[in-house]
């Protein structure tokens, strides 16, 4: 089965609404990262959060290691937040395994 599963696969919001993205993984993760990919663009690391809660700007990630899940909360979404959000884990191999991503569309 797929090692990293993300949900929902797509999400449409009105500007100002909050977004909640989920990442579930089947193996113990020693590293967990959230990436943002602009439409047709490259990937940028948003947060590295193998456990606990981390904040940066309007982003909050909470990872519960024992339950093998992580979430990314985006508050007060903006149209410029539109793109694909990817979760990736490292199971102590030095390699990141990616989920298929959540495509976020924020409408004005």
């Amino acid at each position: 089965g797929q090692q990293v599963q993300q949900s929902p696969s797509s999400l449409v919001l009105q500007e100002g609404e909050n977004a909640e993205l989920q990442c579930n993984f089947s193996s113990t993760a020693t590293q967990l990262q959230w990436f943002y990919q602009s439409p047709g663009g490259s990937l940028v690391s948003l947060l590295s959060n193998p456990s606990g809660t981390k904040h940066t700007g309007r982003l909050t990630s909470t990872t519960v290691t024992k339950e093998r899940r992580s979430s990314l909360h985006i508050s007060s979404s903006q149209t410029t937040d539109s793109g694909t959000y990817l979760c990736a884990i490292d199971t102590n191999t030095g390699k990141l395994t990616f989920g298929d991503g959540t495509v976020l569309t924020v409408k004005p």
């Binding site: 993300q6 990262q33 990937l43 690391s45 590295s48 990141l96 395994t97």
Partner: protein
């Protein structure tokens, strides 16, 4: 500013031809990676390297070779390109000193006809 640059950015190749995708990083990272991304999917690891002279197989290495001649450069080689290798390829670098955060290049779009 961390920098990973890929070339070419776009390439059309014929079936059976040889394709080389190049990646250069100025981050002085030990680890480098090649991923491919297909429409609607996440990234899948093809090959990676822990340093100059080293190459390791990732999750989908068949049909690909890799070369790491120096700390800065990591190439992905398709000896006999096939239409199934049409994809967007991303190179990345990272290591423990960067908190294992990966820095990605802009991607190379390859079409094999």
């Amino acid at each position: 500013e961390a920098a990973v640059t890929q070339s070419p950015r776009n390439k059309v190749a014929v079936t059976g031809g040889k394709v080389t995708l190049s990646c250069n990083q100025t981050n002085n990272h030990n680890n480098m990676y090649w991923y491919r991304q297909d429409t609607g999917h996440g990234l899948r690891l093809i090959h990676y390297s822990y340093g100059a002279g080293s190459t390791e197989k990732g999750d989908i290495p068949d049909g690909y070779k890799a070369s790491r001649p120096s700390q800065e450069n990591f190439s992905l080689i398709l000896e006999l390109a096939t239409p199934s290798q049409t994809s967007v390829y991303f190179c990345a670098s990272g290591d423990r000193d960067s908190g294992n955060t990966l820095y990605f290049g802009e991607g190379s779009r390859l079409i094999v006809v």
